[in-house]
């Protein structure tokens, strides 16, 4: 199980990554992240929305109301060009961090 601090740090990357695949609304986003990380990352409503609103304020994502075929109004989030730009250095940073941790733990086990 991944600790809370790491989860907070990776949350932005997770959201930007799933939104890169397709625009999503909050619930679907949480479900997809949980599925793709095999339950390692789980977003409750309380964790997800403040994060989405903050990212929207920063201009990384943009939310717009849409009506689903069932007639339900949902706020769908899309990645903005600024969000796309942010995603690649974020990926690099986390890849470097996890690579470093991997090497460290291997050394520790050796």
């Amino acid at each position: 199980m991944i600790g809370a601090g790491i989860k907070r740090g990776t949350a932005e990357l997770a959201i930007l990554s799933v939104l890169e695949e397709s625009p999503l609304h909050g619930y679907e986003m949480a479900r997809r992240i949980e599925e793709q990380t095999k339950g390692a990352l789980r977003f409750t409503l309380a964790a997800l929305y403040p994060m989405l609103y903050r990212m929207e304020q920063r201009g990384w994502i943009r939310g717009a109301w849409e009506t689903s075929p069932s007639g339900r109004r949902k706020r769908c989030y899309r990645l903005t060009p600024a969000g796309k730009k942010k995603l690649s250095p974020l990926r690099k940073e986390w890849a470097e961090l996890f690579g470093a941790l991997k090497r460290l733990t291997k050394v520790a086990h050796a």
């Binding site: 609304h25 909050g26 409750t44 409503l45 929305y49 304020q57 949902k74 706020r75």
Partner: protein, 228 residues
């Protein structure tokens, strides 16, 4: 099925965002809880248990309110204070103080009421009658900008607070600087001035701002329905 819309409205009653932004947050969060609930129901969970599980998505609604507010307007906090408090407050002050000289120019005469000894109290009745409207305008602008009950009231009665500050800070200071004023102004005269320029206009302003503040409080209260 629980009424998620009302449930979220109750929990986020104190969320200090503009009416439109708050309604959007309530809609979005209610929709999320509804989907969590329906997801559990599809898995065969009993209604009550599914509702309970959905509610577990948030353990501390007050903290969530704070986080949402900070996220939505963290960098914009100063701007919102201006929109909700200072702009409507100064608008009420400018209009109310600007109107009096205009009315005087058009021949407004004060109503003189005998006070103590040679002192009289001045009442500019037509001006006083406009104050509730101006105060209501300031309070309404604050309400529309998402002001809290306190900000709404403050915006409406801001001219009274400014006048009171003049009386209790600037006047005593000028007494100190020029003792001849103090010599001419008796305590009864000071009280009369206070009545003319602070208490009566303040009451008129309060008459305008209070209904808006009550409207806001009732609106908040009407959203407080028993939990689902």
């Amino acid at each position: 099925m629980p009424d998620w819309q009302k449930f979220v409205q109750v929990q986020l009653a104190g969320l200090a965002l503009s009416a439109g932004a708050k309604a959007d947050v309530v809609d979005e969060l209610a929709g999320h809880l509804e989907e969590v609930y329906e997801g559990h129901r599809r898995q065969g969970m009993a209604e009550a248990l599914a509702a309970q599980q959905a509610m577990r998505q948030v353990t501390d609604w007050n903290a969530l309110q704070r986080h949402i507010r900070n996220a939505k307007e963290g960098e914009d906090l100063m701007h919102n204070r201006v929109r909700r408090l200072w702009f409507p407050g100064f608008l009420t002050l400018t209009l109310s103080t600007g109107l009096l000289p205009m009315l005087l120019k058009f021949g407004l005469q004060p109503q003189l009421v005998p006070w103590s000894g040679p002192d009289t109290i001045l009442f500019y009745v037509p001006w006083l009658l406009t104050l509730p409207l101006l105060s209501a305008l300031g309070a309404y602008i604050s309400l529309r900008a998402g002001g809290s009950a306190r900000a709404i009231l403050f915006s409406g009665i801001f001219p009274m607070l400014s006048l009171a500050a003049c009386f209790f800070v600037i006047l005593p200071l000028s007494f100190e600087l020029d003792r001849s004023i103090a010599f001419h102004l008796t305590p009864a005269g000071f009280l009369g001035l206070l009545l003319s320029w602070v208490v009566t206009p303040g009451a008129a302003l309060l008459i305008g701002a209070l209904p808006i503040e009550i409207l806001y409080t009732r609106k908040m209260h009407s959203q407080r329905v028993p939990g689902v």
